[in-house]
């Protein structure tokens, strides 16, 4: 459980985080979404006590993070790729961190195995790829088997297998009742991982809602349809709310009517369908709608 109350951070004249309040609950994956420079990393650093808030308070598992007597047991954090001395091997890095809390060596071996670092654990971190650095950061976060995980852009630089692994790992940890808070600017990734999303833009919370409601609140569902007789289909499904656009490849993009209704209408009229695919609004679209001025958005983009 992470609780932020009226948290602000000012760097000189720039207000990086502006009166942010939200709660990250245990048992689900909470996504933290926003473009670069929105204040995500600053917020996470304030949660971890690395940056001092200008105003406001933040607690993790009921206390300010520095007040915990076993910080690594409470929170595991991946704040930046390579918050690691480049001259030290991955194994020794983890060993030194583990030693601060008396975490046994066996646990160091475990997190190395979990993150797939066995082959490079003895090598100096300076030679690591971005993906390896991310895996090491995640290994460090998992050392204390913490109740709360804070991961800043965890899939950054990971190969597709690594992305899948992070997705499964975060979902697994949340299913054990832990608090999982991860940031990303990759909205498609967030759509597949998070249950709940907090959207940050220019240091302010723009949305704090379950991912489903953010998606449905956006453009709405569209259905991609292929048929050898498009004219006939448009006639049978036409209605006041229904709009149909023809794609360059001959497919139809239908809005305002569900896939089931289209299929039933087509069957009733004997229209042959080759494809009938519901398409969710991407989180990208939802995000753009949240962050951009609506009037400007509609006048500039034609669908």
């Amino acid at each position: 459980m992470i609780e932020l109350q009226h948290l602000s951070k000012r760097y000189g004249s720039k207000l990086a985080v502006d009166d942010v309040s939200f709660t990250v609950r245990p048992g689900i994956v909470t996504g933290f979404l926003g473009p670069n420079g929105a204040g995500k990393s600053t917020t996470m650093r304030m949660i971890m006590g690395l940056d001092r808030p200008t105003t406001g308070t933040v607690t993790v598992n009921g206390k300010h993070y520095p007040e915990h007597r076993d910080p690594l047991r409470q929170v595991g954090a991946l704040l930046e790729a390579k918050a690691v001395h480049t001259g030290r091997s991955a194994y020794n890095h983890l060993l030194a961190l583990a030693a601060t809390h008396g975490i046994p060596k066996a646990r160091v071996g475990e997190v190395i195995e979990m993150t797939g670092l066995e082959k490079v654990a003895g090598k100096r971190v300076g030679g690591f790829s971005l993906g390896m650095g991310q895996r090491l950061g995640i290994a460090a976060a998992l050392l204390g088997d913490p109740q709360t995980l804070i991961l800043d852009e965890p899939v950054n630089g990971l190969d597709p297998e690594g992305v899948l692994w992070v997705r499964q790992l975060t979902r697994y940890l949340a299913s054990q009742g832990r608090t999982v808070f991860l940031s990303s600017h990759l909205m498609s990734e967030m759509a597949q991982t998070a249950d709940h999303v907090i959207v940050l833009g220019r240091g302010r919370v723009l949305a704090d809602a379950p991912i489903a409601s953010i998606l449905s609140g956006a453009t709405g569902q569209r259905v991609t349809v292929r048929t050898p007789t498009p004219q006939r289909l448009v006639e049978v499904i036409s209605g006041p709310d229904v709009t149909v656009e023809q794609g360059a490849d001959g497919s139809l993009s239908v809005a305002g009517i569900g896939a089931a209704q289209i299929g039933e209408a087509a069957a009733g009229a004997g229209v042959v369908l080759h494809e009938l695919t519901p398409v969710s609004a991407s989180l990208e679209e939802a995000y753009l709608e949240l962050t951009q001025d609506e009037v400007e958005y509609h006048s500039e983009v034609t669908r």
């Binding site: 001259g87 030194a96 601060t100 646990r107 475990e110 895996r135």
Partner: protein
């Protein structure tokens, strides 16, 4: 690699929490797992052993006539502490590097995440640096003395290791480099960049004393020369030089310029180290990491 496995049941983590002894252990692991640190200590060791051995073997000591008393003691202390001029520069770089290495690589955020109170990690790091520097410096210095002593005796230089006037300055050289390592550590913590930290520390040791002496001499400004005596390099020198009339306390004024004796020099050097360290620690606690 197939890393898409769910984590298994973790090792037993009962009793796992942050303590100062554990921070010390962590800093000890950190110290010995960085090559540059290990190299600095190796160089310090080799210099402290090698220089007395080399100079006692090839130097024209005592001019063959044999030395006793103060003259012999002065030569013994000088030979034993020959390494200091170089090892002081080594520990200055080492002390800065040990702290700025964490800031420049981002490691400091991992360190302060493990110890969000920060002070424990900083003190543990300083403690490990100080103890390691002192132990290695003292061990290597005394090994150097033990190896050089027979050669010195062979050249007729009496080695009176039973006299505190001889033993104290030889120990004092290790105290000096330890204080210097801590001073450099404090400067590193203060400026947080390797280049800046090393520039300031070496400037303080090498450039500032020369400047003060030259300008003070040219302008006939004795107060500049007085200030010079309080610099770590000058005050520190008193910690490892043979003083025939040792035993007097306080600062005696030889000539027009203040002269510190061993204990007041220790007070000045330690005081400066403490002051820089205290300011740096307060800032480290407050600043964003």
């Amino acid at each position: 690699m197939t890393a898409v496995a769910a984590p298994q049941a973790p090792a037993d983590l009962t009793g796992v929490r942050l303590t100062f002894p554990r921070l010390v252990r962590s800093e000890w692991i950190k110290l010995r797992t960085i090559r540059s640190t290990v190299w600095c200590f190796a160089i310090l060791f080799v210099l402290n052993v090698g220089l007395p051995v080399l100079v006692s073997a090839v130097g024209h000591l005592g001019d063959g006539k044999g030395l006793t008393g103060d003259a012999a003691n002065a030569v013994v202390v000088q030979v034993a502490t020959l390494g200091v001029n170089l090892t002081s520069l080594v520990v200055a770089v080492l002390g800065v590097l040990i702290m700025t290495g964490e800031y420049t690589t981002g490691m400091i955020r991992a360190t302060f995440t493990a110890d969000p109170g920060r002070l424990g990690a900083v003190f543990a790091k300083a403690l490990v640096l100080a103890v390691t520097t002192f132990v290695l410096s003292a061990a290597s210095t005394w090994i150097g003395v033990a190896l050089a002593a027979p050669t010195l005796e062979g050249k007729g230089v009496a080695v009176n290791l039973g006299e505190s006037a001889v033993v104290l300055p030889i120990l004092g050289s290790s105290v000096y480099v330890t204080l210097l390592a801590l001073l450099a550590f404090g400067i590193g913590l203060l400026v947080r960049t390797t280049a800046g930290g090393i520039a300031i520390t070496l400037g303080l040791l090498l450039v500032v004393p020369t400047m003060l002496q030259v300008i003070g001499g040219l302008m006939d400004a004795n107060w500049l020369l007085d200030v010079n005596q309080f610099l770590p390099s000058e005050a520190g020198r008193e910690l490892y030089s043979y003083d025939a009339g040792s035993g007097a306390s306080g600062a005696d004024t030889g000539g027009d310029v203040i002269q510190l004796n061993g204990w007041s020099a220790f007070g000045v050097t330690a005081g400066l180290t403490f002051l820089v360290g205290a300011v740096a620690t307060v800032l480290a606690k407050r600043r964003d990491a």
